[in-house]
Amino acid sequence: MEHGNKVRVSVRNVTKVFKDKNRERPVLDNISFDIYDNEFLVLLGPGRCGKSVLLNIISGLMPATSGSITFDGKDVEAPDPEFGMVFQRTGLLPWLTVMDNVRFGPSMRNVDKSEQYSKAQYYIDMVGLTGFEKHYPYQLSGGMKQRVGIARAYANSPKVLIMDEPFGALDAQTRYNMENEVLSFAEKEKRSILFVTNNIEEALLLGDRIILLTACPASIKAIYDIPFKKPRDTMDQDFLELRKVISENTDLAL
């Protein structure tokens, strides 16, 4: 909303083709969009449409077949610590405590020890895990693990936070709860957020803008500006109406 139209990340004409021995599989087809400063941008698309491939290209983990990504005007060609990632499968290190998982990034960058701890503690508190610092991932519920993943991403002070279907494996109520929390984190810690989901309701609850992708190979089908004030009511008539519009425009992959 209040992005003031300053572009942080620019995705231009990105195409990705995977090549097997004797055939080519196009996954992304000429995708272009911008991520503005401090905006909450949602990438919405059906399952297996190439969303994660696109994220991997944006964050520099994978090269595009053609097209370019720029971040603050510079080309992204390798993994950049300015991009923080939160994954569906959390990717926590099972042999580290919550505290050590969250301060892992700063410790790798040789940040001063006391700062590592104070920063990690700040984000552990923010995600509501105060008191669980010494717990190991196996002692936590799915929702709590996701909270650790979010705290870990914030602890690296990324400029852009990329969240790849972080709540896909949670039950509906835990998910609803986490969605509201993510909104409050986003409010507290201004960042550009790129949030990927296949859930229309989630997209509408969170996004300032929604980019709707087609089925594979993914291209951009529509971009929606979401005018509703946050926090949003999933049972509001306008909300339901827009959900219907987007739903009807979505490819159904039976």
Partner: protein, 247 residues
């Protein structure tokens, strides 16, 4: 048979050691009724289901089907899980046949029902496909069809559409309603999704937090197909949401 109680749950209580999980649950379900059960996360819904399937024995209380204590050897109790559970080594039509074979339904009748189910599901073209060749949602549709195939006395569904998006969910919900009407089955459907419960059910049972009790028993008297944006629909959805809200 219509309007008589098919299922009677009578003072069902379950303790694990000292932990009381289900506290004196009683309700009835009529022949051909579609009942949804909702409740807060971790309130004991799965324990509740496992008691109905006879995987667990109750600490006290009983479950009756047609007036007799439920017995998987006598009664037909069908189950559809959240996780797709088609047998990977069987084709779609063999998966549909699986339960009927165990229930010793004659081959001609099995073939007839398989054809009918494939037609209802619109899956005639993949009858010889294996589950790995299908999408997750298609596999789940096979499971749901399989659950109906034995004409169960009681069909239990544990959040079969848990992780699916609205568009897919609406499609599958309409499909399950079609199967339910066609087969006149008695269904208990557990879900986290309140919109789904109000869309599907003739009655919604709201469970309280642990130990689970029946907090409310709400009749959903809306005409079908239901309009999810109608005022009455949203009023019911809001009421149930507030009733189980814990966040």
């Amino acid at each position: 048979m219509e309007n008589e109680s098919k299922i009677r749950v009578d003072h069902l209580t379950k303790k694990f050691g000292d932990l009381l999980v289900l506290d004196d649950i009683s309700f009835e379900v009529k022949q051909g009724e579609f009942v949804c059960v909702v409740g807060p996360t971790g309130c004991g819904k799965t324990t509740f289901l496992n008691l109905l399937t006879r995987i667990y024995q109750p600490s006290s209380g009983e479950l009756y089907i047609d007036g007799i204590p439920a017995d998987p050897k006598k009664h037909n109790i069908s189950f559809a899980f959240q996780e797709p559970s088609a047998m990977p080594w069987l084709t779609v039509s063999q998966n549909l046949e699986f339960g009927m074979k165990i229930k010793k339904i004659p081959p001609e009748e099995r073939a007839k029902r398989i054809d009918r189910l494939l037609k209802l599901l619109g899956m005639e073209d993949v009858r010889d496909a294996y589950p790995r060749q299908l999408s997750v949602s298609a596999e789940q549709r096979v499971i749901i069809g399989r659950a109906f195939s034995t004409y169960p006395d009681l069909l239990l569904m544990d959040e079969p559409y848990g992780q699916m998006d609205v568009k897919m969910r609406f499609y599958l919900e309409d499909e399950v309603l079609k199967l339910w009407k066609e087969f006149n089955s008695t269904v208990i459907f557990i879900t986290h999704n309140i919109e789904e419960a109000v869309y599907l059910a003739e009655r919604v049972l709201v469970l309280s937090n642990k130990p689970a009790k029946i907090k409310e028993n709400i009749k959903i008297d809306l005409p079908r197909p239901r309009d999810i944006s109608s005022e009455q629909f949203i009023a019911l959805r809001r009421h149930i949401t507030d009733s189980i809200k814990w966040w």
